[in-house]
């Protein structure tokens, strides 16, 4: 079986993102870009499944401009077998991303598609579910445990009420949560090796996907600021302050 893993290029999670003064976007000038942290976890899981002998090939897929090849290379260095860039210069929203992924699925016929539960730039949390719907296959979102049993999988999902377990038939889309695993670090020799691994580039047009129905993104604003707080000296002062504010 093949496993497809979605890799999105996003602003690194350590960067404190700032809105541009004219409200036209956020400042990405010279900002560190990385693989979406959830996608690293998705890839790690795929590699472990392959290395346990339950899959033959792990393919990393990213949709975006040529700069996303950098993140695909990181994926190859982590251990993916090959990469596919879905090339587009336009801003993709989850529906178009899902449609493009579906076309790649039709070409590659994977047994499992692993994505992050959310991309930490737009925090949309949609792509995997949309893909599963369009593919008419099961979805398991926010997975913190994944067990393959032949043609099906048992997935533990992190939900608001606790841990939910479901069983899904393969092929399926699984989106991963943070506690599924700890991704490996990339070693220098692997980065060199990754340069020789195949990277296919296919445009959105070649896949026959047109971007339609995008939501219109208007003004960007910084979040409302909280008022400057105060410091208290000890527990007694804290209790008094809370009482004064009617909180106790």
């Amino acid at each position: 079986m093949k496993i497809l893993v979605g890799i999105k290029r996003v602003v690194d999670y350590n960067v404190r993102v700032r809105v541009l003064a004219d409200g036209s976007g956020v400042d990405t000038d010279g900002v560190k870009m990385s693989v979406n942290p959830f996608d690293e976890i998705a890839l790690e899981e795929a590699l472990r499944i392959r290395d346990a002998g339950n899959a033959e090939e792990v393919i990393v897929v990213s949709a975006g401009g040529d700069e996303c090849q950098q993140q695909l290379r990181t994926g190859l260095a982590m251990g993916a077998d090959r990469a596919i860039q879905i090339q587009t210069s336009e801003g993709l929203q989850p529906l178009s991303t899902a449609r493009a992924f579906l076309k790649v699925i039709e070409r590659e016929d994977p047994g499992l598609v692993l994505l992050g539960k959310q991309a930490i730039d737009d925090d949309n949390c949609q792509t995997g579910q949309m893909l599963a719907a369009l593919w008419e296959r099961p979805q398991a979102t926010s997975a913190s445990k994944l067990e393959l049993n032949g043609n099906s999988a048992t997935v533990v999902r992190e939900v608001d009420a606790g841990l939910e377990t479901i069983e899904i038939d393969l092929p399926a889309v699984v989106t991963v949560d943070l506690r599924l695993n700890e991704p490996r670090f990339v070693k220098l020799p692997d980065i060199m090796k990754a340069k020789r691994k195949p990277m296919d580039v296919v445009s959105l047009e070649e896949l026959g996907v047109a971007i339609e129905g995008n939501l219109e993104i208007g003004h960007y604003a910084p979040p409302p600021q909280r008022e400057q707080g105060i410091m208290v000296e000890d527990a007694a002062q804290l209790v008094e302050e809370l009482k004064n504010r009617g909180l106790l």
């Binding site: 404190r16 993102v17 700032r18 809105v19 956020v26 989850p94 529906l95 899902a98 959310q118 930490i120 730039d121 925090d123 949309n124 949390c125 949609q126 792509t127 579910q129 949309m130 599963a132 296959r137 099961p138 979805q139 979102t141 926010s142 048992t154 999902r157 992190e158 608001d160 009420a161 606790g162 841990l163 939910e164 377990t165 479901i166 069983e167 899904i168 038939d169 943070l178 129905g213 995008n214 939501l215 219109e216 993104i217 003004h219 960007y220 604003a221 910084p222 979040p223 909280r226 707080g229 410091m231 208290v232 000296e233 000890d234 007694a236 002062q237 804290l238 209790v239 809370l242 909180l247």
Partner: protein
């Protein structure tokens, strides 16, 4: 005029507060508001939904296979009744996040995630980048609005309404490819994080599962819910459903008390809507103090017993 359908969230016993919050968001959009309740044996839940202020009608779809919230099953039922609605809304909880994008894709539209404010019936404000930017999003003319509602941004609607209830049977069979196995909850009887007025949280600074007792003890004294940072969950001090933050729960209590939490952006994004944030940390340089309304530098193991004594 907008015609809005809200997908109710419940645990088989009662309506989740997120539904009442979706109703308030729907009121801000304006128009006719209906609620869909899926499950089995859901009369009381349907009645609860019908009592929410300004709800016109509750459509209760009663079937055994809808009792577990399998997104593929619920999505089929939503699509079967979606005709004529301009807006399909669900809460931005793990249930809504699982379900609504599936519906959006089947309806062929993009989804608006995490509505925090309504500018106009098809224009909304939502946070991105862990709440570091707020954007205006406009749904293209003629497209159905499929959206999740950021529940920390909305008050629950009152229960003074009197809508009608219409019971229907399911329009599709259970999907075969997905089977529900079960739910394991680690939490006890403490107030639910997402509706609690007070929340006491612990981070890595608490040090162990055993030490978390001091957090529970203070929380019980205050009648508070208990939260945690991701580091505390990862270290196994507490179960996952206690995680507060970008990838955990976004909460809005009147009072939030953080003990031994450094204040990473991903954590802070989950508490920005709290009325008052109190931070207790032994490191005066900790970033949590930048957003705290009241800060106290000190050792939590010394301060919590003092607080408990003062509260007696």
């Amino acid at each position: 005029m907008s015609k809005i359908l809200i997908i109710a969230e419940h645990d088989g016993q009662s309506l989740n507060i997120s539904t009442a919050k979706c109703v308030t968001c729907a009121q801000a959009i304006g128009g006719n508001i209906d609620i869909a309740v899926f499950g089995s044996g859901i009369e009381t839940i349907a009645a609860e939904a019908a009592s929410l202020e300004s709800v016109a009608r509750v459509i209760a779809v009663d079937a055994e296979h809808l009792s577990a919230p399998i997104a593929a099953n619920w999505a089929n039922e939503v699509l079967a009744i979606a005709d004529g609605y301009s807006h399909l809304l669900g809460p931005s909880t793990t249930l809504g996040k699982d379900l609504m994008p599936r519906i959006a894709a089947l309806a062929g539209v993009n989804q608006v995630s995490d509505i925090m404010a309504v500018n106009a019936p098809t224009s909304f404000k939502r946070p991105i980048y862990a709440g570091n930017a707020i954007i205006d999003v406009e749904v293209p003319a003629g497209a159905t609005v499929v959206a999740t509602v950021r529940i920390a941004s909305w008050q629950a609607a009152a229960t003074t309404g009197g809508g009608s209830v219409e019971v229907r049977s399911a329009s599709s069979n259970a999907v075969k490819h997905t089977r529900y196995v079960g739910l394991k909850s680690g939490g006890g009887e403490r107030p639910d994080l997402q509706s609690a007025q007070r929340v006491v949280s612990g981070g890595r600074g608490v040090g162990s599962e055993e030490n978390f007792k001091v957090i529970y003890s203070l929380a019980d004294k205050l009648g508070a819910g208990v939260g945690a940072s991701r580091a505390a969950v990862d270290a196994g001090y507490v179960p996952n459903e206690m995680q507060v933050g970008q990838t955990g729960k976004i909460i809005s209590p009147d009072l939030y008390m953080a003990f031994g939490i450094s204040g990473a952006i991903q954590h802070v994004t989950g508490i920005k809507d709290a009325g008052t944030i109190v931070a207790i940390n032994k490191d005066s340089e900790s970033p949590i103090f930048e957003i705290a309304d009241i800060g106290l530098v000190g050792d939590l193991f010394k301060i919590i017993p003092e607080l408990e004594k003062l509260l007696d």
